[in-house]
């Protein structure tokens, strides 16, 4: 959900783009972090932990902690809290450690 009225801040509307989360089309603002667009859409589970398969979301939101690693356009281990959203991106929950060779 977007913040509409804020006593101090104004949030100018960005350019809306469509991207795909697990194949489903979603909308977000171009250039915002992928995690922000997902959160706005109510998606908080971003990956599955490699060993115990537990759901994980973001933790630090500024690219420090690697809790939010997802597969973006086939590339694993992308920190979606700092990766900018672009039109047409395919974003998927990462399971396991991510396989670079699986790309092609």
């Amino acid at each position: 959900m977007r913040i509409k009225d804020h006593p101090i801040l104004d949030f100018p509307e960005g350019k809306k783009v469509t991207f795909y989360f697990e194949g489903q089309p979603l909308e977000g603002y171009e250039g915002e972090p992928i995690a922000a667009a997902l959160h706005d859409a109510g998606i908080r589970v971003l990956r599955e932990s490699p060993v115990l398969h537990r759901p994980r979301g973001f933790f630090c939101a500024i690219g420090n902690c690697s809790s939010c690693l997802m597969v973006v356009d086939g590339v694993p281990n992308v920190r979606v809290c700092v990766e900018k959203l672009r039109a047409g991106m395919r974003v998927e929950r990462q399971k396991g450690k991510g396989d670079l060779l699986a790309r092609n």
Binding site: V45, R56, G57, C60, C65, V82
Partner: protein, 365 residues
């Protein structure tokens, strides 16, 4: 290979201040930050700062970020590199950066590391559930990206960050069930505590999280009271419904580059964990490598601006620039003493005393 007098890594309050000061002394400066804008974590600080006018007291953090950024941008001889993450510091003094998927090598004559700090977590069952965030993360989501983090939050930690972010959650339209603080008293400023109490948010001291609950993401937390030995008291458990749990339990300095550079590191809990030994000019045990801001020991942004300025001045001075160094450095140190005075600065003073008592060990080359 890029050459520069001073390379500053990190464009938050410390790095910006270091870069500006070094540039004012006549040094050529390269300022690199991994984010897509300067300001570091100031860009989410909507509250007004304390301290004195020299550190922009009475001004909101977001405004300070804008002022410092404009100042840096207007300096000739100061080049800004954004979305440039520092990857390593090598034994020959070369620093590598990654920008646009390209590897860039820089050979600086002096290096200022101002990488900041990362939020700590807390051990309790289910602490990895989505919906459990660092308090700063929620602040970023709300105040930078304009996204509402959820409906109802519980805050852990009644230091300044916990209190301020609780207030900002309410400003973003999020309900705050309680602020839970393990210590027997509130750590943050009374003025912040009063503000959130006036909103009807209870601050529960001598309380902590027992466990978090939820299937795929957070649905609620169990809190309980702590005894004088910080142990949970069975029978005092309470369940609070919440889809957000914010952890404001301190920060750890981001010191990877300093470790890699071979700086003497000391474990000082009062400063947030492992910090580089540094002298009164912010120079580490490795000559030519300076440290500023939270990477040198976790403090407030006001102090970060001053340690940054001091590091920038000292780095330039060691290059034969900055003829007024003695006077300017003394002024900065006086400002730091003021910022660290009083009961709120007690922990920092104790930490810095410990750090200096360890002394500088002989370089292991």
């Amino acid at each position: 290979m890029r050459e520069t007098d001073v390379l500053v890594i990190g464009g938050g309050p410390a790095g910006l201040s270091a870069a500006i000061a070094a540039s004012q002394c006549g040094a050529t400066v390269l300022l690199a930050d991994s984010a897509n804008r300067l300001g570091g974590q100031l860009i989410k600080q909507t509250h007004k700062f304390f301290g004195s006018r020299q550190q922009h007291a009475g001004t909101r953090g977001i405004e300070i970020a804008r002022l410092l950024t404009e100042q840096a941008q207007s300096r000739p001889g100061l080049e800004i590199m954004l979305e440039a993450a520092a990857l390593g510091v090598y034994s020959d003094g070369v620093v590598t950066l990654e920008q646009n998927e390209k590897l860039i090598k820089v050979r600086p004559r002096r290096l200022v590391v101002a990488t900041g700090a990362a939020e700590k977590t807390l051990a309790f069952p289910n602490n990895d559930l989505p919906g459990i965030y660092g308090a700063g993360a929620v602040q970023t989501l709300m105040n930078v990206h304009g996204v509402k983090p959820g409906q109802r939050a519980v805050m852990v930690g009644a230091g300044n960050i916990g209190l301020i972010v609780s207030y900002q959650l309410r400003q973003a339209g999020v309900d705050v069930a309680a602020v839970v603080e393990a210590a027997p008293s509130i750590g943050g400023y009374a003025v912040h505590a009063s503000k959130i109490r006036r909103l009807g948010i209870p601050i529960l001291t001598a309380h902590s999280i027992k466990s978090a609950h939820g299937r795929d993401s957070l649905e609620g937390v169990t809190i309980w009271q702590l005894d004088e030995r910080w142990q949970g008291i069975p029978g005092t458990e309470r369940y609070l419904e919440a889809d957000i749990l914010c952890l404001a339990v301190g920060l750890s300095p981001l010191t990877e580059l300093l470790w890699q550079a071979g700086c003497q590191m000391e474990y000082i809990p009062e400063l947030g964990g492992h910090v580089p030994w540094h002298d009164e000019n912010q120079e580490t045990s490795v000559p030519g490598i300076f440290v500023a801001g939270d990477a040198a020991g976790v403090e407030e942004a006001s102090s970060a601006m001053v340690t940054g300025r001091l590091a920038g001045l000292a780095a330039s001075h060691s290059l034969g620039l900055c003829p007024d160094f003695a006077e300017l450095a003394e002024k900065a140190r006086r400002e730091l003493a003021q910022l660290r005075a009083g009961p709120m600065g007690e922990k920092i003073r104790r930490g810095l005393e410990k750090l200096h008592a360890r002394g500088q060990k002989a370089a292991s080359a």
